[in-house]
Symmetry: C2
Subunit: 344 residues, 2 copies
DNA sequence: TTGAAAGCGCTAACAG
DNA sequence: CTGTTAGCGCTTTCAA
């Protein structure tokens, strides 16, 4: 704020005491008399004093701000995460500085650079689809920047992480499809770069194996753009549905892929679940009122954001060196609705 | 970042020159020789120098950060707005510091306080449902803090504002219901405190008047909690649908109210649009694949965020005093789908 | 073209 | 309990 502002000097002058006394009074130091403290606080209110947090930060070497990098905010899951982050950060007196990588690894790097040079006390990261090299993050982490990863994590950096139980969600979801009588279950998923892709793929495969269904690699389709590109999914669906060995169900691995696939099945005039069943990861709020209602695997976005923020602030405020980093896995919830019921 | 960091002093020492020369070189000042400039830039890269933006801000009196207060982020419309804000801010080198009021006027005030004391250069605001007194904002604005309001604006403060064309959207939407043959059109809306409530109500009323339909105040229902409370809407619906003079259509005034009403109509076993038609303001992505597909009035969230951020940064970077503040109105889009078609 | 020095607003070590 | 002083990292006069 470059507009007129009251400093501790003004208060000092007003009261005819030193600036340090004012500082002490305002910071509720023990080495100040009750009388002066009251006087100062009174005067501060009167002059409408606002502490300049940049000066304080500069002095103290911390900023009481945490940086966040998400792939995108216009997405129910990530906006829930951000909601959670904000609520914890706020309650602990931290600001949230917020950026989007838009699934670009270049933008991601730029954002991290920008954030760290703007003096954040710690970083909350969910990697972009594109990212394969986390060397720069590793360096920052080695230098001492507290980092907590959530959802889209990476193995190379040893720090706290929070994920949903992607493996279990995929296992349970796929198993439900099998229990409903489906045998030829296709899997449409994101880029193989991303941690969650592998976890979900493994759950899917195990469900098939447990039920003595051979994994058909033709039925596993990767979206390079993480489902952002509707055309890409449309091509995949056409390949699956008009090709040989047509699947009778689809297990989709992300919010965007799930709803886009659902919408495309409508567009292509397939009847769900008669012609093809669908069940997928999604936090869409309207699952119950879709046509038909959509079976989903729900990820606890709000809780993830809260947990990640708590862990990060924990790291920031711990003086001693942390050795035992933790990966917290939050349960996913499988909601069976009509889109994955037995046909007929 | 309280971990080891390189300062201009380190560079100065390394090169045997003064800190001011380093500063000049780094800032591409005209009063520096090409030779030293190169040397400094080279050395900065080598030492991996990161400028401390807090020190710079403290000195220069600006922070290159803008504060944002939204009612909530876990909402498609507001997350689109934030997406837009972030994209513009980012491209102009500003950080976005982000807070939620959670529809509480107390939290809103707290957030603004926190933001301004954290030295933001400007503020982007959408008021909470609860807010009636904007005196504190008025004071800040009078003191020189650039503020731009979006969506939920207020009349009392004379500054730039960005809104959707709520009046026109409501007028067109209601008219469509009338054209489809509905005559008894109820209106469920938010708190009357909020600017958009009035604008939408006016559009609704004009549509009725133009078609010689008397406005029935019994058919206009206000949600005090802006639709956050499902029970509140349920009570309203029961009153409307099981009372006298049952409406044949509902025009809903916000995202949350629209989808919740839709979902409750399902739950109450009403057939849409046979028993009751519905059309409302909503940015829900799944409108096409709902059961039945949902007629919506769409607000350009992304554009609103971009425009608001542009205007704010304009205000921040303009030296001269602004007198002519502008209210930008962005068009809404009415999408007619099955939920508001003629019954049978 | 460069360096010395002051100062942004605040905190904290030191001295009284 | 209080004041003096130094300094966080940076920019910017002022002098040279």
């Amino acid at each position: 704020m470059n507009f007129e502002s009251v400093t501790i000097k003004d208060i000092a002058k007003e009261l005819g005491i030193s600036a340090s006394s004012v500082s002490r009074a305002l910071n509720d130091s023990y080495e100040i008399s009750e009388r002066t403290k009251k006087l100062v606080i009174e005067c501060a209110r009167k002059l409408n004093y606002q502490p300049n947090s940049m000066a304080r930060s500069l002095k103290q070497g911390n900023s009481k701000a945490i940086g966040v990098v998400v792939p995108l905010v216009d997405n129910r899951f990530f906006s829930q995460v951000i909601d959670g982050i904000e609520s914890i950060a706020h309650s602990k007196g931290y600001n949230v500085i917020f950026t989007q990588s838009r699934e670009s690894s270049k933008l991601e790097m730029f954002n991290v650079d920008h954030l760290t040079s703007h003096s954040i006390d710690g970083l909350l990261m969910s990697l972009s689809t594109e990212t394969t090299d986390v060397g720069y993050l590793k360096k920052l982490h080695a230098k001492g920047l507290p980092i907590v990863f959530f959802d889209r994590i990476c193995d190379e950096i040893n720090t706290h992480k929070v994920i949903a139980d992607n493996f279990m969600g995929a296992l349970e979801g796929t198993t439900q499809l099998i229990n409903a009588g489906y045998r030829k279950i296709a899997h449409i998923t994101g880029s193989i770069n991303v941690s969650i892709t592998k976890e979900r793929l493994n759950g899917y495969k195990l469900a098939l194996e447990r039920n003595n269904i051979a994994v058909n690699e033709q039925h596993i389709k990767y979206c390079l753009y993480g489902g952002k590109d509707r055309k890409e999914i449309e091509n995949i669906l056409i390949e699956l549905l008009y090709g040989e060995n047509r699947p009778d169900a689809i297990f989709t691995a992300s919010d965007m892929i799930t709803t886009t696939t659902f919408s495309l099945l409508h567009q292509l005039k397939f009847s769900i679940p008669k012609d093809i069943a669908i069940l997928g990861f999604s936090n869409v709020q309207e699952a119950d009122i879709l046509n038909p209602s959509l079976s989903t695997i729900y990820q606890p976005g709000l809780e993830m954001g809260k947990k990640a923020a708590e862990m990060l602030i924990g790291l920031i405020e711990t003086k001693r060196h942390i050795i035992n980093f933790e990966t917290v896995t939050l349960p996913t919830q499988v909601h069976i609705r009509n889109s994955s019921l037995r046909a007929e």
